[in-house]
């Protein structure tokens, strides 16, 4: 595991988030959720700070991080791509869409591209089953995605011409 030295202000950020939840052990999931929201991922060093603040073993923190697929220890790309594998999306071809993303970006689920631009993850249902299959890139939702559109979507982000307001294409 590569060792990361956390910046002072990152450590302070984590400490503040823990304090916001009164350093309660029972708030571990909420703390992890918020910290990942800020940092994008939960590397070992971050988990160690959280464990210390909540006065619990770091093994327990790691146990929770590895239990929930939402939490990740790998840095996400600048544009995190999530493919919905919920039932509706699945039956309407999400697997082929995922395969195409993997082929185009040459990474596996949970990994990031070498340039740090993209990462791929799977999730279960974003509540837009009518638009299945659905993917999200960052905060933006794409509906009725066909494998043939994948290349286009990636190119859009790579060229930096996508506006940030969420809309359906």
């Amino acid at each position: 595991m590569p060792e990361i030295k956390l910046a002072e202000n990152t450590i302070q950020l984590i400490i503040d988030i823990c304090a916001e939840f009164e350093n309660k052990e029972s708030e571990l999931i909420n703390v992890l959720h918020k910290v990942q929201g800020k940092l994008g991922y939960l590397p070992a060093e971050v988990q160690e700070v959280i464990a210390k603040e909540l006065k619990i073993g770091v093994a327990r923190v790691y146990g929770v991080v590895t239990f929930y697929s939402f939490f990740t220890m790998i840095p996400q790309g600048e544009f995190p791509i999530s493919i919905c594998m919920g039932t509706a999306c699945y039956v309407r071809g999400a697997e082929q869409v995922l395969a195409e993303f993997k082929r185009q970006l040459k990474v596996e689920v949970g990994e990031s591209t070498g340039d740090g631009k993209f990462s791929i993850n799977c999730l279960r249902c974003v509540g837009a089953c009518g638009l299945a299959p659905v993917i999200t890139v960052g905060g933006k939702v794409f509906g009725r995605v066909a494998p043939s559109q994948v290349k286009e979507i990636i190119e859009e982000y790579r060229e930096g011409c996508v506006v940030d307001d969420p809309k359906t294409v």
């Binding site: 070992a44 093994a59 239990f67």
Partner: protein, 584 residues
């Protein structure tokens, strides 16, 4: 008191409300098999995640089967523990567990002592109908404990011990579904964690997933090396438990047979850690009185309470968890290390041999002692004071391997000069014993009067935290006792918060003290065994003609011939130590 009437296997039963089906059944002699469940009565230790599903029983009118260990009884309940459905389910559950378990029982370290193996026997499993994926993990070897996680059945007893009882927090269930397993954080090795090597995970593991590092082979090699003099020391708690490995009743004292067995194994001198326990009392007791004297004289730099330092898991615990308090515990080394230090100086000089030609072997109820003897501060030019540590269980294996019929051995005596001990040395083996031994000596040194009594019942027992005030002829000495590291943590937090009023605190890592050590014969969840061992320890104390450490003639001689007086410069060099901040 609210009671509940129910029927179990056609027998009417009346039990207290809140009783589980498992407990109610056990009360009428119906022993529902369990695997993950474990309860140590009087120690407040219970594991009942309801995870293994071996204990399922059929309840009339209930749709699904009920796990007996975590289902409370209800009025009018009709329970069948051995209906066709219950037996089928139980066997299926076991087969599923076995389908992901390496079937290497013949050569497994736990063979003959394995709860899973016993269960397969009890349920008459002759075939495994399920073939599926098997989990594979790398083996993790540390200085004291081996994790062979392919054999883990996720009962989570170790996790409960590590987190709830010991509050060490090194082990946790990680990942999910088929991939879930108990592991240190980030799947690191134990020796990269804050593990104290207390071995309580080993003591409760139902399978061979957690075992001690086996040094019996190294002992056999040492014994067959004609160029070496091999001596052995045996800890107090070993004599109160070793007999169990040979089918003897728990609590049978086997001191004489133990000595005889060690002699037959070929050790050149059979010595006793109890001797070193007496030595520990001389040093630690003197240190207590020094610190107390200065404190009473108003010296603000002297810190109280003084904490005992015999237990290596406890030492490692505070080095990791409370490093800012590392100047509070006594600087006295543990009896094992005092013995090693004296053996390789005083005794080696007597034999006129070099320390490198003397091999010191320890028989310990403990797996942390394996780690302790390897600490750098207990070596001289790379040569350790204690070379090899084997547990009570490993000694039993060695005795069996050497074709010795243990039960028919005569009672023999320890050798001198390092084999004589007082009753105070013996009680080091149980919670409360170290501080009682210290009181017997410190009282007489401080008051210069003879103790009016020798048995301090107020210091004895199995309560996790105990306290008592002992009258030192007008000076009330407040004493605290904790066993189990979670209990120790409570006392330490009080000290940190400035709330502690104790002058001295005894701490042992294992529930019950060394009698419940991680290297002892497996108790299989029966806490009565620990109580019987404790009674045996106090029995041995009462049987002794000398019961105070400072009256041990060989201790007196050791100071006269070699050390000078307690806390002398030489004693400091050989018998005291320092502690390290391990948070860095």
């Amino acid at each position: 008191m609210d009671t509940v009437s129910l029927i179990i296997d056609n027998k009417p039963v009346v039990v207290k409300k809140g009783t589980t089906i498992l407990e109610a059944a056990s009360g009428i002699g119906v022993h529902v098999p369990t695997l993950c469940h474990m309860k140590l009565d009087d120690l407040n230790i219970e594991n009942k995640p309801g995870g293994c599903r071996i204990c399922v029983v059929e309840v009339e009118g209930r749709r699904n089967l009920a796990p007996a260990c975590c289902t409370d009884v209800n009025e009018g309940m009709e329970v069948s523990t051995h209906s066709l459905r219950a037996i089928n389910a139980r066997r299926t559950v076991l087969e599923l567990i076995l389908s992901d378990h390496p079937a290497d029982c013949l050569i497994c370290a736990k063979s003959g002592n394995c709860d899973l193996q016993d269960m397969a026997h009890q349920l008459g499993t002759r075939e495994i109908h399920y073939k599926g994926e098997q989990s594979h993990y790398r083996k993790d070897t540390s200085p004291a404990i081996i994790r062979e996680i392919d054999k883990c059945i996720m009962c989570r007893r170790c996790e409960m011990m590590c987190n709830e009882v010991q509050t060490v927090g090194v082990l946790s269930a990680i990942n999910r579904g088929f991939d879930s397993v108990v592991s240190p954080a980030f799947e690191m090795n134990l020796d990269h964690s804050e593990c104290t090597y207390c071995g309580q995970c080993v003591a409760v593991c139902p399978t061979g997933a957690l075992t001690e590092v086996d040094h019996t082979g190294k002992v056999i090699h040492a014994l067959s090396d004609k160029t070496k003099t091999v001596i052995v020391q045996t800890a107090p708690a070993v004599r109160a438990a070793l007999g169990e490995e040979f089918g003897m009743e728990a609590g049978t004292l086997v001191t004489g047979k133990l000595v005889a067995a060690l002699r037959r194994l070929g050790f050149d001198h059979i010595f006793d850690t109890d001797f070193a326990a007496d030595l520990t009392i001389m040093e630690e007791g003197t240190e207590l009185l020094n610190r107390l004297g200065k404190h009473l004289a108003g010296d603000k730099d002297v810190k109280l309470p003084i904490l005992t330092s015999c237990c290596p898991a406890w030492v490692k615990f505070f080095e990791h968890q409370f490093p800012e308090m590392k100047d509070i515990p006594s600087t006295a080394r543990s009896p094992q290390q005092m013995f090693g230090s004296i053996a390789k100086t005083y005794f080696a000089e007597k034999l006129k041999i070099k320390r490198e030609d003397l091999v010191v072997v320890s028989i310990m109820p403990c797996v942390a002692k394996k780690y302790e003897c390897g600490r750098d501060e207990f070596k001289v030019n790379g040569n350790p004071d204690v070379d090899l540590v084997i547990t009570t269980r490993e000694l039993a294996a060695l005795i069996k391997l050497s074709n010795i019929d243990f039960k028919s051995l005569p009672n023999e005596e320890f050798d001198n000069p390092l084999g004589e001990s007082s009753g105070a040395g013996v009680i080091f083996g149980t919670t409360g014993g170290v501080i009682e031994a210290a009181v017997r000596t410190a009282y007489e040194i401080h008051t210069k009067k003879e103790l009016p009594r020798l048995d301090f019942d107020e210091l004895r027992g199995m309560e996790g935290i105990r306290e008592a005030t002992i009258d030192f002829d007008g000076l009330p000495i407040k004493i605290g006792i904790a066993h189990g590291l979670g209990n120790a943590r409570k006392l330490l937090e009080d000290i940190q918060a400035g709330k502690s009023e104790f002058h001295a605190i005894e701490i042992m890592s294992c529930p019950g003290g060394c009698i419940g050590g991680g290297g002892q014969p497996y108790h299989h969840g029966n806490a009565d065994i620990l109580k019987k061992r404790q009674m045996a320890i106090y029995q041995e104390d009462s049987n002794k003609s000398i019961r105070k450490s400072h009256e041990n003639p060989y201790i007196i001689k050791l100071y006269e011939e070699f050390l000078g007086e307690p806390m002398s410069e030489k004693a400091h060099h050989l018998l005291h130590t320092k502690y390290f901040d391990r948070t860095e």
